[in-house]
Symmetry: C2
Subunit: 424 residues, 2 copies
């Protein structure tokens, strides 16, 4: 291959807030006007209390004014992705992570939870989903749009919206709230129609970081930083241990923008618990009765990590996590992502990785998860994708991975391998 | 040194349930009789529903009948510790992890939470603490007893009990509930009198695994397995980010029997968040305003991990976690621990580690955390402690750690070191 085919498994798109009004059903426009007014007051309060980083926001918006329009403008979007070397993308809501200026109506986007008004949440989701489908009609082979589907309150209505969204061309799957509270947890059979529909329609189910137990943190932002990823990874082991992937063997479940570092230890502790219990099943244990495979086997078959900006430290654990489970993403157009400097970031992270593994993490895993038409994307990649030279891949450093690759998951292979760059 | 001085930072002691009656204040004995009757009925129900692993319990108790009496019998206890090579110990409640037959009254032990009856909880705690102080008068240089102190409901009463317990000879510190719900989280200033008292009296504050969000799990034991450690590590970052270790710089906070693997990533993500914010503090960020040091610096000064049965995989991360923060334990007399086969376990885990690091993890860190009188313990260790030969430490394998030791915490040193046995 001359250039890598890069798919960003974590991008965002959203209209400037006020522009969503026309995409809402008319019955919800008065409520939207009130919602908008309340938001403006709230934002002003946050600013006055010093809880808004105004200086950073202004600088970010000034420096990237044109590029940020790619959050909703299809033509501009392709330009930005091209410059970043990204051929395909998976599109989540909420384009503006700095001042929340391009968020799905009524809080229906990344932070949706069981505490929102159910009817408004669904109305906001539908408005965003309709707009997103239109965005995706431009360069459709490059875009897998993810529909917002609040599944907590009314499972039947959620199934209706899933089918409607899929019909409208959103093939990236659905985004469900990370936190189910105060509704029943995701192991509950009430959600089975959602999993069944998504399996049938080949739609991946996503959680994305954002929600957390905020009421517990007081003013301490650091607590949020330390546990926000956990709250959005949690549904993974609820589904896994409840046997959801046993009952829906073709379901794809994706945890996005929560990092990937936690996955190795999760699989390690889960497999060990399973193997211990499985051996002793006749003694009455309850841990594995719904399961016929090890947790890591379900993970390999059913789960993907939208790992966004993969760190060296995480890539060093890729044989334990599973290379085919790892999907890189540039988080466009969020400032915590790698855009607009993706090629430099990729070089720092991937310079000594084998080419086949680089291709899988940068695009192959996402192509498999979302069913991208790789042949249709190939010409785009040939035009804009990063080369091995641009990633600094000269063959140097490859040998350090050999033992590690052989060891795979040491708790299963019994091989204790040295040579993991701990990294940063 | 000829033999290692081993201190187990995770041991348990408790009377057979019924024997606690005499240690309760008379006013609580009727309530205790009712509680005992309810427990027997409940246990019978669990047994009938197949939720008790009867076969395992019978085998464990048959094979270890004599040794298990060490859960409450001081003479037998010393015999078992001697045979395991353990000179000193830190003693938590609830000796019987199999059928809960030696648990502090009214649920005051490892599983105590904000949902228990506050008055009964404190009465049960006092009963256990009185008994434990007596157990510790036998071989006092070997035993650091940990007092149960339910601090959630009545902070003033908790402070009274802390002082009383310390006066009675319990020098291992206090055990607080891991989960504060439905009371305010541990960042709340209402708990400051507890931290102040423990700092003044040089008593370590502990959380110990056991409590979890059980109501959310339904019948799925695997979910509990995957997140139980998290619920008891959580108070660590609540205290840290709230500046508790800034305000109480000599406070020792210990997380026990939650493993150690999570600590490296916690420090990595926390330091990175702190450094990023600290540089931008003038821009109005709220993350680090209570802090004058990096999270890992507070961790090194104030925090310890009662890592119990340390795994190879965890020891491979010891330079990131901090060797002086890691305290091994045999979890006597629980079946998930290494007793009565500690020397074989130690050999598997420590065979290629440097001697100084082995000594720190097996005893040095605990001696520093709890103020054990090392000179008084030395003769015991000389009699029973494991030798380097018994641990298989021939010098082989040492060289693989050199680069890793130099790298330390790579996110701070900038050194990316290979050579971590991932292990099992």
């Amino acid at each position: 291959m001359s250039r890598y085919l890069v798919i960003s498994a974590d991008c965002h798109a959203g209209l400037p807030n006020a522009d969503y009004r026309d995409w809402l059903e008319p019955a919800y426009r008065n409520a939207f006007d009130e919602y908008q007014t309340e938001r403006i007051v709230l934002n002003e309060e946050l600013r006055e209390r010093g809880l808004r980083n105004e200086e950073f926001a202004e600088e970010w918006e000034r420096e990237n004014e044109e590029g940020l329009r790619g959050g909703w403008d299809a033509g501009r979007r392709d330009k930005e992705l091209d410059a970043d070397g990204v051929a395909g993308e998976v599109i989540f809501p909420d384009a503006d992570a700095v001042t929340a200026g391009a968020s799905a109506p009524f809080g229906a986007g990344l932070g949706a939870s069981g505490e929102h008004d159910p009817e408004l949440l669904m109305a906001g989701a539908r408005a965003h989903n309709r707009w997103l489908a239109e965005l995706c009609t431009d360069s459709p082979h490059r875009r897998a749009g993810v529909a917002i589907v609040p599944i907590l309150h009314d499972v039947d209505a959620a199934v209706v919206e899933i089918k409607r969204a899929a019909d409208s061309g959103l093939r990236g799957g659905i985004l469900i709230p990370s936190m189910w509270q105060p509704y029943p947890p995701y192991h509950d059979a009430r959600y089975d129609p959602v999993w069944a529909t998504c399996q049938d329609l080949e739609l991946a189910v996503h959680v994305h970081s954002g929600a957390a137990d905020r009421a517990a943190y007081g003013e301490h932002v650091g607590i949020y930083v330390s546990e926000v990823r956990w709250w959005s990874t949690r549904p993974l082991w609820f589904l896994l241990w409840a046997g959801t992937f046993e009952r829906f063997p073709r379901l794809h479940f994706v945890v996005t923008e929560c990092g990937a570092f936690w996955a190795a230890d999760l699989l390690w502790t889960s497999d060990i618990a399973y193997d211990r219990e499985h051996a002793a099943r006749k003694l009455g244990g309850q841990l594995s009765e719904h399961l016929t495979m090890r947790p890591s086997e379900y993970f390999d078959r059913n789960c993907f990590i939208g790992a966004s900006n993969t760190r060296r430290r995480e890539l060093a654990r890729r044989y334990e996590i599973g290379i085919g489970n790892l999907m890189w993403g540039n988080d466009f157009p969020h400032p915590e992502g790698t855009w607009p400097h993706t090629k430099e970031w990729l070089r720092r992270a991937f310079w000594d990785l084998p080419g086949d593994e680089t291709q899988t993490i940068l695009g192959g895993a996402a192509a498999a998860c979302y069913g991208f038409d790789v042949e249709a994307l190939r010409p785009v990649a040939e035009r804009i994708g990063p080369t091995t030279t641009e990633l600094g891949q000269t063959g140097e450093g490859l040998e350090q991975w050999v033992n590690l690759r052989a060891a795979g998951r040491p708790w299963l292979t019994g091989i204790e391998a040295p040579a993991v760059p701990a990294g940063d």
